[in-house]
């Protein structure tokens, strides 16, 4: 246990508790600075909502959010250079090590892209998150009230006047802060709190799509209800594990699992429930049911944020939990997760083939990718860890760019995500079609893209860990999945466009930047993966 806190802290800590005094535990501010920056910026964002005039809010929020993410990223890089193995802080509730810093860096970079997508106002007048026209004359009505559903599909002119609902920015930052804590949590309770902090803003964000209010609200409600269930499962599992180990700390659970005579029923029931909560967040396998609806209904920029960042956070948390707390008992549970990985790949690929909507199809593809990630996550070797981290990194950027591009193809009704709308797109906009093809090939895992490198490192790590059959299943699933993406490429390049097809918006600077970021990362790390692999394999998790 690498301890940054002063020596002897645990003893004195328990003594202090007994005396009921409130002495602060030692805090390693340098380690948790990135999280603090993001959360403070989120709080400032709320204040901006309250006190800054509506006309200046957008600019203020965008500057604040971008600044916070960049500052936090700089701090992550600075800290990554300083530490060796990392350590725990805040009374051992948070552990910051190389792997966690890699996850934080990935999350922040992805969030940067997502915020750029969210902030763009040029594609749709007023942006995707346009505000209600509740000026002083009209009675104030909360935007999410039931009656707003019909009124909200407003014409574009009104939308451009009304401006943007700028509370998306603090919500995004809160969620991001939660994700970062989630990847660093060193006990189950902190993990649960972080899970809620990351989830609750997401539920709200999902409901903010302007032009498809009903779909969007349905998505939000569905996500909230299922998410609440998942949280409850997690909490119940937490309680069982506490009963098993007598502690919620990862390190104590790990000690307890290493050859004790306690009740295995408690352990596996608890682990199962906790993992179920995590699998839900990562939209893995049979716990995926919310994914297509939510991806479909949420505003595309938010979908990009969710697909990229939530996946990283969920798998980051799962990797930490499995590596730190449950590696000793892996022999008993790993076949369950084998099944989950296989199911996830199959469900994603097979259901994806039947989809007629692009966002839903990408949602199913993300379920298949979650299956591939599971293959890496359950290796429990150092190579497997770094491989899974790299996969997350690569997948996040590709997905972000994919959703950025999906947002550009629109009809007068809004986004055109039905597959038939994309027919012959290469004739209308060769550049968009080419870039999108490249990203789809990356998702399919064609060489020279980061997607392939991710698959390669994950599968080779799994193979070395003795999971040959799973690797073969994974490779076959990849081949099937390729058909999923080829279908779209065929549609774009070889089919004739419909006469009243959608138009391709010229992206604004922000969207262009976000898409470019995703595409460049996809290409760069396909050709030179060692840049990220080096960092991902510096070291594992600490506890």
């Amino acid at each position: 246990m690498g301890v940054v806190a002063r020596t002897g802290a645990p003893d004195r800590h328990s003594e202090l508790l007994a005396q009921q005094t409130t002495d602060m535990p030692p805090i390693d501010y340098a380690a948790i600075a990135p999280v603090l920056i993001v959360l403070v910026a989120a709080c400032l964002g709320v204040l901006i909502e309250a006190f800054v005039h509506r006309r200046q809010r957008w600019a203020a929020q965008v500057v604040l959010s971008l600044l916070a993410v960049i500052l936090a990223g700089a701090q992550v890089i600075r800290h990554a250079r300083e530490i060796n193995t990392g350590g725990t802080t805040l009374s051992d509730t948070v552990a910051v090590g190389p792997a966690t810093l890699f996850l934080w860096g990935t999350l922040l970079a992805l969030a940067l892209g997502a915020i750029l997508l969210i902030a763009d106002r040029s594609i749709e007048p007023g942006g995707a998150f346009v505000a209600e026209t509740n000026t002083a004359e009209t009675p104030r009505q909360p935007a999410d009230a039931p009656g707003a559903a019909s009124a909200s599909v407003m014409d574009r002119a009104t939308a451009s006047v009304a401006g943007m609902r700028t509370e998306v920015f603090p919500l995004t930052l809160f969620s991001l802060g939660g994700m970062m804590v989630f990847c660093a949590a060193n006990d189950l309770l902190t993990m649960f709190v972080a899970l809620e902090v990351l989830s609750l803003p997401l539920y709200l964000l999902c409901g903010l799509a302007k032009r498809r209010r009903l779909l969007s609200q349905e998505a939000a409600v569905k996500y909230f209800l299922l998410g609440a269930f998942a949280s409850a499962f997690f909490l119940y599992g937490l309680a069982l594990l506490y009963g098993y180990a007598g502690s919620v700390k990862f390190s104590d659970i790990a000690d307890a699992t290493a050859g004790s005579l306690r009740s295995d029923t408690l352990l596996f029931a608890g682990l199962g429930l906790v993992i179920m909560g995590l699998l839900f967040k990562g939209s893995v396998g049979p716990f995926h049911l919310w994914t297509p609806d939510v991806y479909h209904g949420a505003p595309t920029a938010v979908t990009g944020f969710m697909a990229a960042c939530t996946k990283v956070a969920a798998f980051g948390g799962m990797l930490r939990l499995l590596h730190v707390a449950f590696s000793a008992s892996s022999w008993e549970w790993h076949w369950v997760l084998w099944t989950v990985a296989v199911l996830s790949m199959l469900i994603g690929v097979v259901s994806g083939l039947t989809q007629r909507d692009l966002k839903r199809m990408i949602a199913y593809s993300s379920i298949a990718h979650a299956g591939f990630l599971m293959v890496g996550a359950i290796t429990l070797t150092e190579r497997g860890l770094s491989a899974t981290l790299f996969y997350l990194f690569a997948y996040g950027f590709t997905t972000l760019a994919v959703f950025g591009l999906i947002g550009l193809v629109r009809t007068s009704e809004g986004e055109a995500t039905h597959l038939s709308d994309w027919a012959g797109l290469a004739k209308r906009s060769p550049l968009l079609a080419t870039v999108f093809t490249f990203l789809l090939l990356a998702l399919a895992g064609i060489p020279a893209t980061s997607g392939f490198m991710g698959k390669f490192v994950v599968f080779s790590a799994a193979f070395s860990a003795g999971m040959g059959p799973l690797v073969v299943i994974g490779l076959l699933a990849s081949a099937l999945a390729a058909f999923l993406y080829l279908r779209v490429i065929v549609l774009m390049f070889f089919n004739d466009p419909a006469p009243d097809g959608p138009t391709v918006s010229v992206p604004g600077a922000f969207t262009t930047a976000a898409i470019t970021l995703g595409v460049v990362v996809t290409l760069l790390f396909g050709l030179a993966p060692q840049l990220a692999l080096d960092w991902a394999s510096v070291g594992g998790f600490v506890s």
């Binding site: 064609i446 690797v471 080829l486 060692q530």
Partner: protein, 532 residues
């Protein structure tokens, strides 16, 4: 290394230039041809600088790529790779020359077509030249993408189906090969403590691997290459791809792309899994001979000119597989030289058939008849290509097929005898095709339509079949023009030259084949018999 690097990068550079010029067809076409001719000169220089008795891999060089996984961008040529590089360098200007005026689907630019062809050339050269297993896999898969767009974007009426089928088949095979490659890497990591994808190192490590490991590795590679080179149960993508692809692309597919599969047998399957290769040789030989017979019978029964070529190729790939897995150096030299000669012979056959289709506007055999009266030169060309395809003595293919059969007879007499039946069938299907298309009175709807003879008002389906407008089939039936003769001339010269004097190719190939044989650990039964 520098020369080899230039061989890989030059077509890529050419592709970029041509892609930039694609709006201006008059400029793009000569530039593309110019690049392909310079590439041909470079290939000739590489051939001349190659020393047949020298190092196993020549012109080699290496740059680290992903050191964590022991992957480096390393390249080098052995004799077999060299002749394949030379073949594609030769075929590319020929294909560009053929496609100079070929009809493309509406709204497709010829510049883009040529640029994609050049990209394909660069990737193919690289795939033959690489000596790193991982890089080989990467190129093996990337190669599919330009080909996918060439077939899907420029092909016939069912091109999308053919392109997707082609892509998925090869991609699936590639992924199975990746599993084997990862397995080889893991085995090397556990055996030597350091994983690597370097071909030479892996060869040394895997030679001592237990047979069970080798069998799995062999099967992975075998699946990929058997799809690529199509061996019989995995061949169904080839007829569709050949039928739907534009003629120039079909030449590249059957002439070069498929050779990656047979090349893979020689370069990867045999040396990396020597024991398993011998153990499973009967399986491959069976598939090969089935391929020879099945392909020949199918070719006999085809009603479509392009599908006919595909089945002819399938039969020939059966021969090549037979030669490789008979494990005598004669048979392997025959197989390796067959790879070259098949490219030249079948390449020419595809081109001539393309010229016939360009005249008749249909690819149905029944739409043609008695062309020789009107187009004697074209008929002569079809005859030369056909005779080379059926391995008439004096043409280039004869010596290869002969070596394969005589070499395999010493170790596998049953398979050799069965394959000989294929030679007879080849004569039947080639001559029958020639007879139906060229001899007799001028007949067939496509032709009568175009010369305006009796029965000119025929069913409109003919024109639709060929994917061409009615205007195209109204062209007067004319013999080959000087461009078409120029395109075919180098191939005719090579067919005759290599038929009479095959030494240049055999001299380059033989040392590499012998090296492969010794890597597998097989001694030639022929020499030992000669000693007794």
């Amino acid at each position: 290394m520098n020369l080899l690097l230039a061989l890989i990068l030059l077509p890529l550079l050419g592709a970029i230039v041509v892609a930039l010029l694609r709006g201006n067809e008059r400029a793009a076409k000569p530039v593309a041809l110019g690049f392909s001719l310079v590439e041909l000169v470079l290939a000739a220089v590489a051939w001349l600088s190659y020393q047949p008795g020298g190092a196993r891999l020549q012109l080699s060089g290496s740059v680290e790529w992903i050191p964590q996984y022991g992957i480096s961008l390393s390249f080098g040529l052995d004799g077999i790779a060299l002749v394949m590089v030379a073949v594609i360098a030769l075929l590319m200007p020929v294909v560009l020359g053929f496609s100079w005026q070929e009809r493309l689907p509406a709204e497709r630019s010829r510049g883009g077509f040529f640029a994609l062809l050049l990209v394909e050339q660069a990737l193919t050269v690289a795939v033959f030249a690489t000596t790193d297993l991982f890089v080989f896999y990467v190129l093996f898969e990337i190669m599919l993408i330009p080909m996918y767009f060439l077939i899907g974007g420029y092909g016939g009426s069912r091109r999308q189906y053919a392109a997707v089928k082609f892509f998925l088949y090869s991609f699936l095979g590639g992924l199975i090969m990746l599993a084997s490659a990862i397995g080889a890497y893991s085995y090397a990591a556990s055996a030597t403590g350091r994983g690597t994808f370097d071909w030479a190192t892996l060869r040394g490590v895997l030679a001592d691997a237990p047979t069970s490991v080798q069998v799995w590795i062999f099967l992975g590679f075998f699946t990929a290459f058997a799809i690529k080179a199509p061996l019989v149960p995995l061949h169904t993508w080839l007829p569709d791809a050949t039928e739907q692809a534009p003629i120039g692309v079909a030449v590249i597919v059957v002439g070069v792309l498929d050779k990656v599969g047979t090349f893979g047998f020689l370069r990867y399957s045999l040396p990396l899994a020597p024991e398993a290769s011998q153990l499973l040789a009967p399986l491959v030989l069976t598939l090969g001979v089935i391929g020879v017979l099945y392909g020949s019978l199918q070719a006999f029964g085809q009603t479509d000119l392009k599908r006919f070529i595909a089945y002819v190729s399938i039969a020939h790939f059966g021969f090549i597989a037979l030669g490789i897995f008979a494990f005598t150096s004669q048979a392997q030299v025959g197989a390796a030289s067959y790879m070259v000669n098949h490219s030249i012979a079948t390449g020419m056959l595809v081109l001539v058939i393309g010229m016939i289709i360009a005249r008749g506007g249909s690819s149905r055999i029944a739409d043609y008849g008695g062309m020789a009266r009107v187009t004697p030169v074209l008929a002569g060309m079809l005859l030369i290509a056909g005779l080379s395809t059926l391995s008439l003595p004096g043409t280039n293919s004869f010596i290869s097929e002969f070596l394969v059969l005589i070499g395999s007879f010493t170790t596998r007499p049953v398979f050799a005898i069965l394959a000989t039946v294929g030679m007879v069938l080849a004569a039947v299907y080639v001559l029958r095709l020639y007879q139906r298309v060229m001899q007799g009175p001028l007949s067939g709807t496509a032709l009568l339509d175009s010369v305006g003879g009796p029965g000119a008002a025929t069913d409109p389906e003919v024109a639709v079949d060929g994917g061409s407008g009615p205007g195209a089939s109204r062209l007067a039936l004319r013999d080959l023009d000087s461009r078409e003769i120029g395109v075919l001339a180098p191939l005719v010269v090579l067919i005759v030259l290599l038929g009479l004097y095959p030494a240049p190719v055999l001299d380059v190939i033989t040392p590499s084949v012998e090296a492969t044989m010794s890597e597998v650990g097989v001694t030639d039964p022929v020499t030992s018999q000669g000693g007794n």
